[in-house]
Amino acid sequence: MKIGIPRALYYYEHYPFWETYFHKLGFEIVLSRKTNKEIMDWGVFYAVDGACLPVKIYHGHVYDLVQKNVDYIFIPRIISVVQREYICPKFMGLPDMICSSVPNLPTVLVPVIDARRNGWKVFQAYFALGRKFASPAKVVQAYYRACKALQMKQNSPIISVKPNRLTLGILGHEYLIYDDYLTMGIVSRLKAGGYNLYTLDSFDSNLLKHFREPSFKRMFWTSGRKIINGTNYLKEQVDGFISLVAFSCGTDSLVCDLVERFCQRNQIPHLLLNLDEHTGQAGIFTRLEAFLDMLERRAVHEVNCSSHGELLHSL
């Protein structure tokens, strides 16, 4: 039996879990191709206009799997992964969106991942899903192994910090940051350039819980909470923040506004890059280079008093 998993959205966070789980249940796993022009075009074609770019891309990935003749496609309905928090409404309705817009779908497996109350419901969902294909003992074992695999991934070591290089904090959803096609390779370029990069998954997720901005209301989106707390945690360790946002992302419209205000008050440089279906790289890279130039210059010339007008004379 072949099961297709789209290489988009929660793939980037939960793939080790899904891989182990379905492998133990005896499935052959088929991934969609990495995002490319064709997948993006399919996504834009099948999705509604108002959806954000990652959701559109997801449609494209599902269609890619449809063409690979898999027996099942795995599209979980992820309501919540942390207690009392949500991901985003679009994740809650994603399977229904796909089923009503992508044609010729094989059987779709839709477990409901809802950890709002506790983790027990998540286990129940995976258990019920696995019971269709294997014995109870095997399912429990697969689930246990999968949890272990996810833990191994989450505790991946923090990147070593080289001294005299700029340190940047990359803020954004993991499904955006790690998709090289969507971000036009910004992250890999920065890595190749030798910058120290902090992404939000380089920390233990519990660590970020303690760095809540006290005056803010409890953030009820998991990714939003990570971004806000991560900004607060990293404010003294980085030279600047780069926010990668998908156009018309609902949660980020508010979260990034808060981050921007936060950076302004704390005088941290912040670059906001809005990504959409456009594939023109020149504009994005020019902005990125200008930002990096500014940071480097700031490290040399900035003094604590106002530098207005001073810089020109000193050059």
Partner: protein, 371 residues
């Protein structure tokens, strides 16, 4: 303290009654206008939905009129409404406007916080005034919705074009003046009769269209460019599927039974949408299917640009529309106020509905005579 509330259609009548009964001076923001919109757009995040932008505009205009405190509701997700107040607080702080934001968060965000805010609102006249205020506000809202629905019924049948909306405005002003429940009920009866009297009684039934979607854009006629009125003048009887009373009943009085309500709604969607998605997304799909079964001629779905729950609804509804053969017009509103394009789309939609109805009647007639 002089308090203000953001606008949402004609809700200000009930809010004003509530706060006045509790002993506050109420300063309402001026009716939403292009000025409100441009103020809001200037200071709000770029891609946030229209309701929040108009809220911010309302606040700034009310503060200019002397408001010292703002009453706003919160939420606990996943719709963005729950975080509006937090961001609005930051916006007002950065603008240097010194006002107090009284945010009524739902109980699950902390009972103590909710209790503190309510006690603060009830400070001038005691907690008893809260009960009296709520009753009066509830009755006023009921009266307002009754009159609005009556107007929707009368508009396609009105004797003189545009008279219903004028009478409705006068009636709402009378409702606003009423200060006891007894007088309110009397006024409401009179005004309802006055509005219903404007209708011509002809045997031809107008087209029936259901209005669904995001609650703010449905209720606030500035954001939807007087959608109900426009449709009414095109000869369409509009049924609003979303109302404040219903929202309060479902989300406040019946909140302990929320999971039961959601299960019932999911059942109504016939498998098209199998989960609650925040906001009114699930309700939109469920009521579309109900209306399609009730032989409505068409559906108008309206939402602000980037509204998260309604994007899901829209995606699902395209399939529903094809399967159940019910025409749906999707309207996405944002800061644009160009009316011509909007009017053209509405006219085209109504034309389509009329033609479809004629064909249907023709088919019925031919099959009746065995041709």
């Amino acid at each position: 303290m002089k308090l203000t509330v953001p606008h949402m259609g004609n809700c200000y009548i009930a809010f004003e009654a509530l706060l006045q009964e509790m002993g506050h001076e109420v300063i309402l923001p001026p009716t939403c206008s292009k000025k409100t919109l441009s103020l809001g757009t200037k200071y709000s995040p770029e891609t946030i939905c229209l309701p929040m932008k108009i809220n911010v505009g309302n606040y700034i205009e009310a503060i200019q009129l002397g408001a010292e405190g703002i009453v706003m509701i919160g939420g606990s997700g996943p719709c963005r409404l729950g975080y509006f107040a937090q961001v609005q607080k930051e916006i007002l702080k950065d603008l240097g406007l010194d006002v107090e934001l009284i945010v009524l968060e739902p109980a699950r965000e902390g009972l103590k916080n909710l209790k503190d805010q309510i006690l603060r609102l009830a400070q001038p006249k005691g907690i008893g005034s809260l009960w009296r205020g709520l009753r009066l506000a509830w009755e006023k809202q009921k009266a307002v919705e009754l009159l609005e629905n009556a107007a929707c019924y009368v508009r396609p049948r009105e004797k003189q074009l545009g008279i219903t909306s004028r009478v409705l405005q006068a009636s709402l002003a009378n409702i606003r003046q009423a200060n006891s429940i007894a007088s309110l009920r009397r006024i409401c009866r009179e005004e309802q009769a006055r509005i219903l009297d404007l209708a011509n009684h002809s045997p031809v039934q107008p087209l029936k269209v259901g209005l669904i979607g995001e609650i703010y854009t449905i209720l606030e006629s500035f954001t939807n460019l007087n959608l109900e009125e426009r449709l009414g003048h095109l000869g369409v009887q509009v049924t609003r599927e979303v109302s404040v009373l219903r929202w309060v009943r479902d989300h406040i009085f019946l909140s302990p039974f929320a999971s039961y309500r959601i299960k019932r709604l999911v059942k109504q969607t016939d498998g098209y949408l199998n989960s609650w998605v925040g906001g009114h997304g699930l309700e939109s799909v469920a009521s579309t299917i109900q209306l399609a079964k009730a032989d409505y001629n068409g559906i108008v779905h309206i939402m602000p640009f980037t509204c998260m729950p309604e994007i899901i609804a829209q995606s699902v509804l395209t399939k529903v529309s094809a399967d159940l053969q019910i025409p749906i017009l999707f309207l996405i509103v944002d800061e644009h106020t160009g009316e011509a394009g909007y009017q053209t789309r509405l006219e085209a939609f109504v034309d389509l509905l009329q033609r479809k109805q004629k064909e249907f009647q023709h088919e019925k007639a031919t099959s009746l005579f065995g041709c």
